[in-house]
Symmetry: C2
Subunit: 327 residues, 2 copies
Amino acid sequence: MMEKAKPVVTVLGAPDEPQPPGIELLDGHVEVRSACDEASLRETLPGTQILLVTDFRTEALRAAWPSADSLQWVHATSAGVDALLIPELVDSDIPVTNAQGIFDKSIAEYVLGAILIFAKDFHGSLAYQRNHQWKHRDTERALGKRVLVVGAGSIGREIAKLTSAIGMEVYGVARRARRDDPDFKEVFASEYLHEQLGLADYVVLSMPLTPATEGMFGPEEFAAMKPEGRFINIARGAIVQTQALVEALEKGRIAGAALDVFEQEPLPAEHRLWDFDNVIMTAHMAGDFIGWRVALIEQFMANLAHWQKGEKLFNQVDKKLGYVVQG
Amino acid sequence: MMEKAKPVVTVLGAPDEPQPPGIELLDGHVEVRSACDEASLRETLPGTQILLVTDFRTEALRAAWPSADSLQWVHATSAGVDALLIPELVDSDIPVTNAQGIFDKSIAEYVLGAILIFAKDFHGSLAYQRNHQWKHRDTERALGKRVLVVGAGSIGREIAKLTSAIGMEVYGVARRARRDDPDFKEVFASEYLHEQLGLADYVVLSMPLTPATEGMFGPEEFAAMKPEGRFINIARGAIVQTQALVEALEKGRIAGAALDVFEQEPLPAEHRLWDFDNVIMTAHMAGDFIGWRVALIEQFMANLAHWQKGEKLFNQVDKKLGYVVQG
């Protein structure tokens, strides 16, 4: 019996990391090719059946697309697939899957940590500590405070679970309203966003970046928040109009922000955001727990097993919407 | 009908705060006297039926004790009553009650916040932020990590609830072992402390300061911890041999510490502890949520209602043990 040909997988990695850790798990299962930019992708795409995109920022596919003569499946090892969804791919029959689920719990822990830093003013305590200052303050409880999770997908849901678990009151905003959601006290439709922003102590962005959400957080949204409200973004920087956020912070229209994502990454060293006392900034790492790269490849291989058996792939992105639609 | 005489309450406050906020709630209910040191306490004690101690550090009672000619009840608006339990009071029939319950949830949030700061290295991120440095790192998950709560009283129990709620594995150490505890996976007897210290990712002290616990965390206890273990103290500073903690940190025998309490408070500005990169320090404020002072007086008044009706007081401290024994 002839051995069945192994599927050809092109790994599209970042230029500084063409072969992310974990890729070695593919050895023996598939034929692995490597690309990290337009030129190398153009070379590897012909004959490639599966494109495995490990660099969520890459835009190499757009130019290399014409070389995709055998492509049957695109998998992204990220939750966000915004950079990947070029019109040609969206209009094609090629399914796109993502890494939904891998980062959820880690991101939710990050959000809970940020909330507790704000509530307990650990931020302030660390500043006093640097000055060797003993400075007692009364601080807030998280208990009973209101969280608004904008984007009730799998990450938003996990954020709702963790914040509810410590006694916070958690509401959601999504495309469709729903009352009987197990993880949210209530999920409001998008048209209630402004009203809900005005009630929330913590506003957490956890929606995908799509044409519909790009720049959707601007001056009006920050103005709609309570002056005591804190803003947390673990989604994508481009959902927020950065200048509007800076102004809201400068003018005290909101009480603070925790930001893991930025319009421009890395954030330039001279950016105004670095210096706010009430802003916590991290380098797009909220979901990146130790072991995440291997977990991503393991998830891809689980989906590969489906593909090889001709079964339905899981985590299929609705390419028009730009994210995996919750069941 | 003659009006019943109002009970005489002496409020023993700190010299810089003889009348803490909330005391005004007592107006009309009791006759309030104020003291803030030995001399004033000696003057107000004669005829005082109830001593309301709002300064958990005060040692004024020892010298003023002979003036306590009518004392029937001592209430402390703190969880810890270590400074208050002079032998004369311990040997008397006078009940001592404390503020058990008021600080529990707030302290548990503080502990969870500290754990998430360590897990997500927010501490490191804030340092990079000050330098305008974009620095991606993989960080830990809290999920599945092992917490050892030393002291399974009402504060320890609340810490167990919150940390369990986010998926940590929570064990306790207490005087008595118990397997069927709803809030801990298992509570081990004290003789297993060292063994358990070696297994824990986070060690949290939440026991009272008593003659039995004073200085009980010394070189051997820190040596028993994992090098990756973090140490969190929200109990009392004197439970820990500070020099042993400093050495454990200096020699990397433990991975970090979050400290809200210190042998000497305020901690002197020149103390070595201020400067560790992996230490989070706060000014004995973990439990002090906004509104705590009023909550404390409300709790006292609830107990006062029991006292006035001749009913059993709640939160009675076992004076020999130095804390409220859990039911």
